[in-house]
Every structure is written in structure tokens, then in C-alpha cells.
């Protein structure tokens, strides 16, 4: 019998998200909205495309990769079979068993979002939004908190509608994703939601002394409500809210190198995400351009590759963030109160051109 606490451990060690006991029915109160990003006259479809491919980078989990590591654009948003696999010993650090796709345990797949009957073609707009905002699957089951609905819950209605508008334009791909294995299946079948949305009031505000409050607030929205920076750069928690809400943006979440797609022996087995606050253990001393390069090009202060596949490389989603959005995100990170959290050693890859 797998306990809920074990679930939390599984999820934490799978380094995707946390969940835990005392899970409550999520709060249906309307999301508090900060300043949404300026949209420069985009149509809803264009805005949705930008969010799903670049800001929230939904494509990172929902589009399969080619064997050569590039994204399979013929299957854009068609779902990934066994996106995450964890071994039966729950993937705890030091667990001897490597994930085995044939062990009947631990595989969770991402859904087919395309405009096909095996995707979301027959789902209503309301059903689609209820999935990515509230964690309620179209078939009435619950999403596991691998899907960060607890963050996306806080996006604006306009952005949520833009996402739906874009999903309706996705080229249909026939792909029935396989059912999830345990422990995920139990979460899917539970009567309660797998996680509670983050209260947007708990997301740090820019320090009062920061000069461009408007830019920082736009960055706050991009990093935490429609984008997912806050997810990986905050320590996870075994709680109803699967992030440590007292340590937002302080880094220290742990990923195994396999989870980041890093195979070379030169990478450490466990990689800590970086403290993004302007502390000496964080981004103090980084120039604005260096921060922007780290986000969009995966290039750290030393000119080396950061270890997250979301930044840089052939699948980098953030490379196409607009410069105004990159500036706003950088402003927000620079506006955070410094917090001490030494996440060293930094994981460094090869030099980035």
C-alpha cells in the first residue's frame, strides 16, 4: 500500500512537483491578477502560441523529441508516452533501481492536446481550461501535479482563452496516450485534487526600492502565473501546495541529471536549481544581459551552458521570448529581496557561443 506521504516522496524525488497529505479541495476563488504582459497587438491565437511554446513552454512536456534530441514538430503537442518514469523504489536518491519502461510501474504520459479525437478536439473550451487551470481532466479524473496547474491557475482569463484558441488550431495528430501507471493512476482516480493552487498573494512582490515597479510586476506575472520559472527555482514541498511557499525563487530544487537529459559522465548526478534572488549565493553581480542570456541562451555568467534543457540547446523554448519580456523577467528577479541559499556547486556544461 502506497501512502500519500510516499506519493509526496515519489513526486519530490521525481523532481516534478510535490503533493502530500491533507490535500484539500482547491480554492475556486478567482485568480488575483497582476499586470499581464503587454501583448503588442497579438491575436489570441498568436498569444496562445507564444505562451504554449515559449512562456509556459508547455511544448517541453507535451511534444515528443526526435531520436536526435530535437523536438518532433510533426507531433507538436501530441503528447509524450512515459514522459516521466520512476522506479518502484520511488526514485529516491541513492535508489539502486534505474527506471525501467517495462516494469509496469511509474510511467506518466503527457496528454495529446491536438485537434484530433484522440486529443482535445471533442473537449469544450471550459473543459480545457478546467484542466490546465484547476487540474480536472476532461474525462473527470484528476491531473497529477506533474502538470503545474497550481501555477497556471493564476493566469488571466485573456491568456487562458488565448491558450484555448491556439489549441484549436493545432494540427491533428492521432495519438492515444497510454494510461498512467502507479503511483500516478491513484492520483488520477482520487476524489480530491492532487494539489492546491498557489495563492498569488504569496508570490513575492518587488522590493519597494526597485525603480521600475511596473516592469517588475510584469515579470512577476511571467515568471509565476503564466510561466513556470517559480516551479523549478523553488524547493518542492510535500504539502497541498507542492512548493515551499516560504522560499520562492531561492532555488535548491533537485533534479537527477537523467531528468535533465544530461548523459555525459562529467555532469553531477544531482543538480540543484539556482537561487535567483540577488544574494551573493544567487544572482548578485550578474548583469542584466547575463541574466537574459542565461534564460534565453542557457549561457551562464562564465559563458558555460547551464544544465537545464529548458534553457539553451535545440529544445530551448525560452530562446524565442521577446526582448521586452526577457527584460521584465530580469527586472523582477532583480527586484526580489536577497535570500541566502547556497545551491553550489553550479552545474556547468560546455561553452556556449
Amino acid at each position: 500500500m502506497v501512502t500519500m506521504r510516499a506519493f509526496g516522496m515519489i513526486v519530490m524525488m521525481a523532481a516534478i512537483a510535490g503533493c502530500g497529505d491533507n490535500i484539500k479541495v482547491q480554492n475556486d476563488a478567482p485568480a488575483a491578477v497582476d499586470a499581464p504582459s503587454a501583448d503588442a497587438g497579438q491575436t489570441p491565437v498568436e498569444r496562445g502560441r507564444y505562451i504554449m511554446n515559449n512562456v509556459a513552454a508547455c511544448t517541453f512536456c507535451h511534444t515528443p523529441l526526435n531520436p536526435d534530441g530535437t523536438r518532433d514538430n510533426t507531433r507538436l503537442f501530441a503528447g509524450v508516452d512515459c514522459l516521466v518514469d520512476i522506479p518502484p523504489c520511488f526514485g529516491m536518491v541513492g535508489c539502486a533501481t534505474p527506471p525501467d519502461p517495462n516494469d509496469g510501474f511509474g510511467c506518466i504520459s503527457s496528454r495529446n492536446l491536438t485537434n484530433d479525437a484522440t486529443g482535445l478536439k471533442n473537449a469544450t473550451d471550459a473543459q480545457i481550461k478546467d484542466a490546465f487551470l484547476n487540474g480536472h481532466r476532461v474525462d473527470g479524473k484528476k491531473l497529477a501535479p506533474v502538470m503545474p496547474f497550481y501555477l497556471l491557475h493564476n493566469m488571466t482569463d485573456a491568456d487562458a482563452n488565448a491558450i484555448v484558441a491556439y489549441i484549436r488550431t493545432l494540427t491533428p495528430v492521432v495519438h492515444t496516450v497510454p494510461p498512467n501507471q502507479e503511483p500516478w493512476a491513484t492520483m488520477n482516480n482520487a476524489s480530491t485534487d492532487s494539489a492546491q493552487p498557489i495563492d498569488p498573494a504569496t508570490i513575492p512582490m518587488p522590493v519597494a526600492s526597485f525603480p521600475d515597479q511596473a516592469a517588475a510586476m510584469r515579470g512577476r506575472y511571467l515568471t509565476s502565473q503564466v510561466g513556470l520559472c517559480i516551479d523549478c527555482h523553488t524547493k518542492d514541498a510535500m504539502a497541498a501546495i507542492p512548493l515551499d511557499t516560504t522560499k520562492f525563487f531561492q532555488g535548491g530544487r533537485q533534479f537527477t541529471k537523467e531528468q535533465l537529459g544530461l548523459t555525459a559522465a562529467t555532469y553531477p548526478a544531482i543538480i540543484n536549481t539556482r537561487n535567483l534572488t540577488p544574494d551573493a549565493t544567487g544572482l548578485m553581480g550578474w548583469t542584466t544581459q547575463q541574466i537574459k542570456d542565461a534564460i534565453s541562451k542557457g549561457k551562464d555568467q562564465m559563458g558555460k551552458a547551464v544544465c537545464a534543457a529548458t534553457h539553451g540547446g535545440v529544445t530551448a523554448s525560452y530562446a524565442a521570448l521577446t526582448d521586452p519580456d526577457l527584460s521584465d523577467i530580469t527586472s523582477y528577479l532583480q527586484s526580489l529581496a536577497p535570500a541566502v541559499n547556497d545551491t553550489s556547486p553550479d552545474c556547468m556544461g560546455p561553452a556556449v557561443p
Binding site: N66, D68, G69, T70, T74, V80, C82, V174, H175, V314
Partner: protein
């Protein structure tokens, strides 16, 4: 003594006749689950017109398969239209084979020089795996490859889409109602009126007209340029839009396709795949049957019907010469790969020494790097290269372009040898190739061709090194070792290839037998169709 031996009991049946009977009677090819139009008459009719249409072809590249300049004249002056159709090099009245190439060069010429001789399209629908090296698992994916090949048709998927919109709209839309032509594909004349001489869109009231054009790249470009195909990309790298790219074989049409929005790329590729599927449907009607050999078999191998020499040849074929070891069944092929010791020989036939480490990054070939998912185009090693390409092929039966939804649904499991072994019938049985171990037995191995109509398909072997059936028979008689021809033999010759010790007369008998395999194709399938006048590209 002689009298004693006969008349009392019937002679024991000749065992070779039972073996020959296994070759009799050509069936009906199919089904092809990956192409739901494979047996739709309207698809075959439209595909036939495509097959005979020269307006899909591009210009002479005067380059060989390794992008080197050709040293002999090609079909046309470099840069001039080659005006070929499928039928130009796969003549359906001549075994579906190439009768146009320069015999001195043995290989086939399209817009440039191939590294191999063209294969037959007649009876190709029976094949389990396509092309000399097995790089494709459907005829339609083979068509997708050759129509954009710089040594073959040198066309482009955008040209195909515009040609269809311009000249075949009604037929296309009737056949493929699920895939309507995008409204931007109205007519070539209308599109040309929208474009400046450099291919960019004319502005309308000072703005980029966003219905037919796109500003995504910062330049106002047509959503559907008149020509364009994917540029060359090294596996593991991203296709990028480079408007400054010089028009070249690696980045043709100044990167026009790569600069399109993804959705439009997928739409135009869908039209291109449908074009190929219609041609495949036509190729399913190209069946050669009722050869003299079949008539002989129907007559229970009545002595004398075939003629003395061919009948002796037939028995040698299944006996001493052991041809039937690989040339099995009614198709006279096991559709498998064998190294029979044919060297890479000829001006345009590459050797491994021409394929250096790092050359692939320049679009050439590399026989030193060996990565299953990043095929480096080591052409000289045959199936060892072709099946590696199949294992990374993006137009496979399990791709989004296929109609085999079961195969497509399980694509992510097609790298797992346990899964493919447990599901041998999935993907019309082609699943076995997806995880086939790429060992050295495939090095220098090429797919066994059918011998139906073989008398019409000279020259012989993958690189066309033998001009006549008699010459290639000598090759087998010597046990596959041909030191006098030069060239490079790769890998290890199959143990089935042995010195045969056939006499000259026996070789003649075998050739005489092979000449009885020429069949008949339904004239309705081979009569040239009417083809629309060229479009105003």
C-alpha cells in the same frame, strides 16, 4: 537395360518442378494500411497523371550524390529544366525501369547522377521494403524522398502543392476532402502578382498583407512560396530560417521552406504526402503477370512449351545455380538484404574512402561515424546505411503522415526490440525493420530485386555494373569475386554466394530462362494519360 528401366512404373516426379511451382502466379499486391487510398480507383487515376507529369521536376543540378560536379553531360545544361516525369526513368511499358541513362555511367541520371541504377516500379507494390538499401518502408515515402532529391526529380514540396492547386484542384479536393488546400494556394498567377522579384511579398498600403504573407521573420514573406523544400540539417541541430542563405543544394530556394510558419509547413507537407500516396495507388496497378513462365506453370510445366534451353535454365535456377535461395516465390525475391560481392565501381558510385569524418556536416557522407539516430549517409555500405536511415525516417509507417493509426499510436515503442518482437504484425509487418540490429552482415548488402521483367531492366546490380544478364550470371558463377572490375567491395560476401561451376551452355540456359519472366501489364495502366499544360511558375 534401358527398356527395363521404364514403362513399368511412372517416372518419379522431377523435384525441380515442385520448386518451380513456388514461383508461379503473381497475386495482387496490398493492402497498404499506411495509405488509405492505396486501392481507391480515383487515387490511382490521379496518381497516374502525376506519374506522367513532367511539371513537378526541377532543374539540372549537374551534381552527383556527394554534391560533386558531374564530369559527363547530364540531362540538361546546369540550371535548365530537366522536364522529367516518374515515367521518364521508370517507363511502365519497359518494366518500369530506366532506359534513358547513359550506359557508360551505369547509374541513373535525374537532375544529377545517382549512385545506383533505377529500380523497377512494375511489381514494386509487392515489395516488403523499398529501395536498394531499404531506407523506406512504403512506396509513398520513397516518392517523398526522390521528388526532392537533387539527383532525381529535384522538385520541391511547395512546387508540388502549387502545381496541384493550379492544375489538379478539383481532382485533389474530391479525393482528399479531409485535407482542403489552404486558401492561400489560389493560383500561381495570382501568387506571382503578389510577389516582388526577390520573392518577398509586395506590401499593401505599406503593410505586410497578413492573409497571404507573414512577417514572422521580420521580412514580409509569402506564407506559401512557389518553390521550397526543407534545407539540409545535421541530425541533432535545429532547422533555422536563414534568408541570407545562398540558393544551393543544401539550402535550396534561399531557405524558403524553413522560413515558413510550422503550421504552413505541415499543411504543405500533407499535400506532398497525399501526392505521393496517389502515385503509390497508381503503382499498385502496375502488376506484370502472365509471363511465358507462368503459362508454362499453368500447363503443369509441359515439356517443350517454354523451349529446351529455358527449361534447362529453369531447373538450374532452382537447382545447381541456387538462384532461388534468394530469388524466391512468385516475385522471385525474398525482399531481404544480401552481400553478393558487387563492388562500388563507376565514376558516380561512391566508396567509403570518399566519405570522411565530418563531411556529413557539409551535406556529403561520412563512413567513419556510426550513430543509429544520426545517419551520416554512408552510401557505399548499402543496407547498413539504408536501414539506419529507415530507423530515423520521419515518413515511416508510424509517422503522422501514415494512415496506419495503430502503427502510428505505438511509434514511441518502436525503438524497443522486445516490443517489436512481441508485435510482429504491427505496421503491416514492417515493424521488424525498426529495431533490426544493424550488424556487419548488412554492410555491403543490398535488397534482392524481383526478377519479373528482368530482361527489360538492364543494366544489372545496384550500381548497374553489368550491362547484360549474361555478364551478371558470370559474376555469380565466379562466386561473386570480380577482381578485374576494380572498385571497392564492402563487408563480407554472403556464404550463400559460392563458385557455381556452371558451364557456358548452362549460363546461356539461365539467361534464356530469365527472358521468360517478362510479363504483361494491363494496358489500361500503361496507356499515357492526359496531363495538364505546364503551370506558369
Amino acid at each position: 537395360m534401358g527398356v527395363f528401366a521404364c514403362a513399368c512404373t511412372a517416372e518419379p516426379p522431377d523435384p525441380s518442378l515442385a520448386l518451380l511451382a513456388t514461383h508461379a502466379g503473381v497475386g495482387t499486391p496490398g493492402p497498404d494500411t499506411s495509405n488509405k487510398y492505396w486501392n481507391v480507383p480515383a487515387a490511382a487515376a490521379l496518381g497516374k497523371r502525376f506519374y506522367f507529369d513532367t511539371d513537378f521536376s526541377g532543374v539540372e543540378t549537374a551534381a552527383d550524390i556527394l554534391l560533386q560536379p558531374m564530369t559527363t553531360p547530364g540531362r540538361a545544361a546546369a540550371g535548365a529544366r530537366i522536364k522529367v516525369s516518374c515515367n521518364s526513368c521508370h517507363d511502365v511499358t519497359m518494366g518500369g525501369s530506366d532506359h534513358t541513362s547513359d550506359p557508360g555511367n551505369r547509374v541513373s541520371f535525374g537532375a544529377g547522377a545517382y549512385d545506383v541504377n533505377g529500380e523497377q516500379t512494375i511489381n514494386a507494390a509487392f515489395a516488403d521494403i523499398i529501395y536498394w538499401n531499404g531506407r523506406n518502408d512504403t512506396l509513398w515515402s520513397q516518392i517523398v524522398a526522390v521528388v526532392e532529391s537533387h539527383v532525381s526529380v529535384n522538385g520541391s514540396r511547395l512546387r508540388v502543392a502549387w502545381r496541384i492547386a493550379d492544375a489538379y484542384r478539383a481532382e485533389y479536393e474530391a479525393l482528399f476532402p479531409e485535407y482542403p488546400l489552404p486558401p492561400q494556394l489560389d493560383s500561381i498567377a495570382a501568387q506571382k502578382a503578389r510577389l516582388a522579384s526577390d520573392g518577398t511579398c509586395l506590401l499593401v498600403a505599406g503593410a505586410c498583407p497578413t492573409d497571404t504573407c507573414t512577417n514572422t521573420t521580420g521580412t514580409c514573406l509569402p506564407r506559401f512560396p512557389l518553390e521550397g523544400r526543407p534545407g539540409f540539417v545535421v541530425p541533432g541541430q535545429l532547422a533555422t530560417c536563414d534568408r541570407s542563405a545562398t540558393d544551393s543544394l543544401l539550402q535550396p530556394y534561399q531557405d524558403a521552406y524553413d522560413c515558413m510558419d510550422l503550421t504552413d509547413q505541415l499543411a504543405v507537407t500533407r499535400i506532398y504526402v497525399n501526392f505521393a500516396k496517389a502515385i503509390e495507388a497508381y503503382e499498385f496497378t502496375l502488376v506484370s503477370k502472365n509471363a511465358l513462365f507462368d503459362q508454362w506453370a499453368d500447363a503443369d510445366f509441359k515439356p517443350g512449351l517454354l523451349g529446351a534451353s529455358p527449361e534447362r535454365g529453369a531447373k538450374l535456377f532452382v537447382g545447381k545455380a541456387a538462384c532461388a535461395e534468394c530469388h524466391k516465390g512468385p516475385e522471385f525475391s525474398d525482399w531481404d538484404f544480401h552481400n553478393i560481392g558487387v563492388p562500388q565501381v563507376g565514376a558516380y558510385v561512391p566508396t567509403t574512402t570518399q566519405c570522411h569524418a565530418g563531411d556529413y556536416a557539409m551535406g556529403k557522407c561520412d563512413c567513419t561515424t556510426d550513430d543509429r539516430f544520426a545517419p551520416t549517409n554512408c552510401l557505399p555500405i548499402g543496407a547498413r546505411d539504408g536501414l539506419r536511415k529507415l530507423q530515423a525516417n520521419k515518413f515511416r509507417r508510424d509517422s503522422v503522415w501514415s494512415d496506419d493509426t495503430d502503427c502510428q499510436n505505438h511509434y514511441s515503442l518502436h525503438t524497443d526490440p522486445n516490443y517489436t518482437a512481441e508485435n510482429p504484425t504491427q505496421c503491416d509487418g514492417r515493424i521488424k525493420y525498426y529495431t533490426k540490429t544493424l550488424d556487419d552482415s548488412l554492410r555491403g548488402a543490398w535488397r534482392t530485386p524481383s526478377l519479373r521483367d528482368v530482361a527489360l531492366t538492364a543494366p544489372y546490380m545496384h550500381d548497374g555494373m553489368y550491362a547484360t544478364l549474361r555478364d551478371q550470371m558470370v559474376h555469380y558463377n565466379k562466386g561473386g569475386i570480380v577482381p578485374d572490375q576494380g572498385g571497392e567491395v564492402n563487408g563480407t560476401i554472403d556464404a550463400k554466394i559460392k563458385v557455381l561451376n556452371l558451364t557456358d551452355a548452362e549460363l546461356d540456359d539461365l539467361v534464356a530462362f530469365l527472358q521468360t519472366l517478362t510479363g504483361e501489364v494491363d494496358p489500361a495502366a500503361t496507356t499515357p494519360p492526359t496531363v495538364p499544360a505546364d503551370s506558369p511558375f
